[in-house]
């Protein structure tokens, strides 16, 4: 028998040398540790991406400002977008999926623990490779630095003649490497959900978080491939003189757009579907009601997954497509609003008549709910091709997608952090600091992104380095930048709260929220084997069945 026998004693863990403990983290294949590594790594990049955003906003706070040079400004918006999407949002979602899925479906680990570790390290090294461009991007030509071609890197700007040096290559290779990791993680999530559910947990009895992560994994598997293909083609263009995107030699710049956005739009759903999952787990617990319309929620998620692959060219209305293409992508984009609207209706239906507890996770979920609604409405506006012709590439678009990414996804993420922090750490966070975080961030968010729509409507283009005074943009840019400092203060409180609570917070029980899913049946933090015995479930709320044997759910499912 090829096994090493060890006996771990948690009490002795803190007395072990730091080198040993570090070695444990580096060599771990435990889904919980890898989940935490994903989350910590993403949080570090969140701070970096936040600093880049702050630099941009300081640059734009007044007209004719020269806080940074135009070159640095270009690098900042490129690195900010790339970092936030590829090295913050995706890894953090993967981190939560890694940590929670086996616990919620009653498994001991992910389906492929070693692949899981490999995927994480690829994602981590991909991020480091991208940021190495700040010092290594000069290459042979002494030009460049960090990538400066925008996060969607349109051709022909990425051609060697316009992007000399290696900055664009670092962008391509960094995403390529981390993309392989993303595909590994997605395959792992799908295999875990499909194959490792505990006895009794049929697909119809899975927690919604598992369903939604399954859809997310499918989207990753389908969406990352076109991006990877396009990056390989771009590398061939740049290194071997291929002409895929070289319009001077029979190539097509528009093909790059299609490749990028057939990845890029499903990517939005890769990020927002796990946010839906958090809301779908948290809102019922703090409303003290089961989720309203479970089967419809599942169907709506699957529908969103399908429809998300038919909408990509709404990012390209301003390119000049045929009227048939414009009509198709307008209609398909509007259709996404139907399953999404169903979800919003169901979350409100869950809260309706419930005994709502306004704890920090619930506050963030309520913020998510209403901000996502507004984000969806501006999305429907931009889905109308003639409207998009007026406002495409303006700050209105920037405001819209930040409403999705920050107003919806980040708010749901904060909710998830507060909700599962006791499970991950075994300690409670400080509720008062959590509420301060919520209100500061809410005020900052609305100052920044509500008012960002206005300069967009007034014609301010995105990625603009500076602007002339007197165009009506000045006051709005000032307010937008002031909002950033409120958000930064909120994030600072959040980090302090979690750090302080991790060390000094009161020890919590295994089930501090009186919740209903399996992760709350094991100790906080869970042991490395998750469950002493693999649980058997009979309904979607197994802990409700145990807590209320006189009125179990399984009689009605």
């Amino acid at each position: 028998m090829s096994s090493d026998s060890i006996a771990l004693n948690p009490a002795l863990e803190s007395t072990r040398p730091i080198g040993d403990r570090l070695h444990d983290w580096v060599t771990t294949v435990d889904h919980k540790k890898l989940g935490i590594l994903y989350i910590l790594y993403a949080l570090v990049f969140l701070v970096i991406g936040g600093i880049e955003a702050t630099i941009m906003r300081i640059q734009l706070i007044v007209p004719h400002n020269h806080f940074v040079s135009p070159q640095v400004f270009n690098e900042m918006f490129t690195m900010h977008g790339t970092t936030m999407i590829f090295f913050v949002a995706m890894p953090i979602m993967f981190g939560f999926a890694n940590y929670l899925l086996p616990l919620m479906i009653g498994a001991r680990d992910m389906a492929f623990p070693r692949l899981n570790a490999w995927s994480f390290w690829l994602a981590a090294f991909g991020g480091l490779l991208l940021y190495f461009s700040f010092i290594g991007g000069n290459g042979l030509y002494g030009a460049g630095g960090a990538p400066d071609v925008g996060w969607f890197a349109y051709a022909p700007l990425t051609a060697r003649v316009f992007s000399i040096g290696h900055s664009t290559d670092f962008w391509t290779l960094g995403l390529l490497v981390s993309g392989i990791g993303s595909i590994g993680t997605a395959a792992n999530i799908a295999a875990t959900v499909l194959c490792l559910r505990c006895p009794g947990m049929t697909l119809g009895k899975m927690p919604l978080l598992a369903w939604m992560n399954l859809v997310m994994a499918a989207l990753v598997l389908l969406a990352i491939s076109p991006l990877t293909a396009a990056q390989i083609m771009l590398s061939l263009d740049r290194y071997l003189g291929a002409h895929f995107f070289d319009t001077q030699a029979g190539g097509s710049a528009v093909i790059w757009m299609h490749f990028f956005w057939i990845f890029g739009h499903p990517e939005v759903y890769v990020l927002v579907i796990p946010a839906f999952a958090f809301a779908s787990e948290i809102i019922p617990v703090f409303s003290r009601k089961p989720i309203f319309g479970y089967p419809v929620m599942v169907a709506a998620t699957v529908a969103i997954g399908f429809v998300s692959f038919t909408v990509w060219a709404h990012h390209m209305f301003t390119v000049g497509m045929s009227s048939y293409a414009n009509s198709f992508f307008t209609i398909s984009t509007m259709i996404v609003g139907v399953p999404t609207g169903i979800k919003i209706f169901n979350w409100i239906g869950t809260m309706w008549g419930g005994k709502i507890e306004f704890k920090t996770p619930m506050l963030f979920c309520i913020g998510f709910l209403f901000q996502f609604l507004i984000a969806g409405l501006t999305g429907i506006m931009l889905a109308v091709a003639p409207f998009d012709w007026q406002l495409g590439n303006s700050y209105f678009v920037v405001a819209h997608f930040h409403y999705v990414i920050v107003g919806a996804i980040l708010f749901a993420l904060f909710a998830a952090f507060y909700y599962w922090f006791p499970k991950m750490s075994g300690r409670m966070y400080n509720e008062r600091l959590g509420k301060w975080h919520f209100w500061l961030f809410l005020i900052g968010f609305h100052l920044t992104f509500d008012f960002m729509h206005i300069p967009g409507l007034l014609g301010m283009p995105r990625r603009i380095y500076t602007y002339e005074p007197g165009r009506g943009w000045d006051i709005w840019n000032l307010i937008i930048t002031v909002g950033v400092f409120f958000q930064a203060a909120g994030i600072l409180l959040f980090v302090c709260n979690l750090l302080w609570s991790r060390i000094k917070g009161p020890v919590c029980t295994s089930d501090p929220w009186d919740a209903w899913t399996l992760e709350w049946s094991t100790s906080s933090p869970p042991p490395e084997y998750n469950f002493a015995a693999i649980p058997v479930v009979r309904s979607r709320r197994p802990l409700w069945d145990i807590k209320h044997p006189e009125d179990p759910d399984w009689k009605y499912e």
């Binding site: 090493d4 570790a117 390290w121 090294f125 109308v384 003639p386 009605y556």
Partner: protein, 288 residues
């Protein structure tokens, strides 16, 4: 032969212990190798060579980890398991169906045929008003029909006034198809939704919904199809919407309601044969 762990495909753990995959260095080595292999393209060939060596080493190490059997560690299980309990013993219930401890709402609904009947009746009422508008205001019964076809058949709008008043077989066929399909779908929607709004269903279906729908179309049609927008008479438009809503609503609410089957799995509600779930019919099913 030793008993096997079904999840890990390894010999089963002794009592009181659990077997887990062993920690390993090879994933990080392999990931670092792949990264260096790529980084060499933008730095130096020596970096790629180092990456290739690490990649090869990582692969060999990984294979040795899992072949012929996966390495694993045996972990002792804690004796104490958390107790699952709640302090909230009381369960509040909405006083909707006292005879049922739990209920799916609405308790009763209309059959699908009610929605179809309502949709067809509403479509008739709407068509009468629309044709009346064509005769009284435009001097031709074909005008509103051509206009409806123009929602998807843009060429209709370029006909000019005289042509819009004339009969065109293609436009007529298209308009009939659009009208019937939309009416049936909206009728089905009414059939499904009206039981959810038991108070004043006609007010909702016949007045409020048409006002919202007309408001939405009025506000966006100028953006989507300005040519069509110019030719719509909004007073007649909303009148025809009211006619559809009221007639369809009246027809639907006059149909007999049926009680929904509470907590029956979907496969059974859909009438799909589900061995083990549906009761066998005596004398019809063969004994197995």
């Amino acid at each position: 032969m030793e008993p096997m762990d079904p999840q890990l495909k390894t010999p089963a753990a002794p009592p009181g212990t659990v077997q887990l995959p062993a920690p390993t260095t090879w994933p990080i080595v392999l990931a670092f190798g792949v990264t260096l292999l790529s980084a060499g393209l933008v730095t130096s060939a020596s970096v790629s060579i180092l990456g290739a060596i690490l990649t090869l080493t990582g692969c060999v190490g990984w294979f040795r980890d899992v072949l012929p059997h996966e390495k694993h560690v045996t972990v002792r299980v804690a004796a104490e398991v958390p107790v699952v309990a709640t302090s909230r013993r009381e369960i509040a219930r909405l006083p909707i169906a006292p005879e049922l401890p739990r209920a799916l709402l609405p308790l009763e609904t209309y059959p699908i045929s009610a929605g179809i009947k309502g949709g067809l009746a509403g479509s008739g009422a709407m068509a009468i008003l629309a044709c009346l508008y064509g005769i009284l205001k435009q001097g031709s019964i074909w005008y509103p029909i051509n206009l409806l076809a123009a929602t998807v058949y843009g060429q209709s709008l370029k006909f000019g006034a005289a042509s819009l008043n004339a009969f065109h077989l293609s436009s007529f066929s298209l308009a009939v198809l659009i009208h019937l399909t939309t009416s049936l779908l909206v009728g089905l929607l009414y059939g499904a939704m009206l039981p959810m709004f038991p108070r004043r269903p006609i007010l909702l279906g016949g007045v409020i919904a048409p006002i919202f729908w007309t408001g939405l179309i009025h506000s966006v049609l100028g953006l989507i199809n300005p040519l069509l927008d110019e030719r719509i008479d909004w007073r007649w438009f909303i009148a025809s919407q009211f006619a559809f809503g009221i007639v369809a609503g009246l027809v639907v609410v006059r149909q007999a309601r049926v009680r929904i089957r509470q907590f029956v799995p979907f496969v059974m509600r859909a009438g799909i044969e589900t061995p083990g779930m549906m009761a066998e019919k005596p004398g019809k099913d063969r004994p197995r």
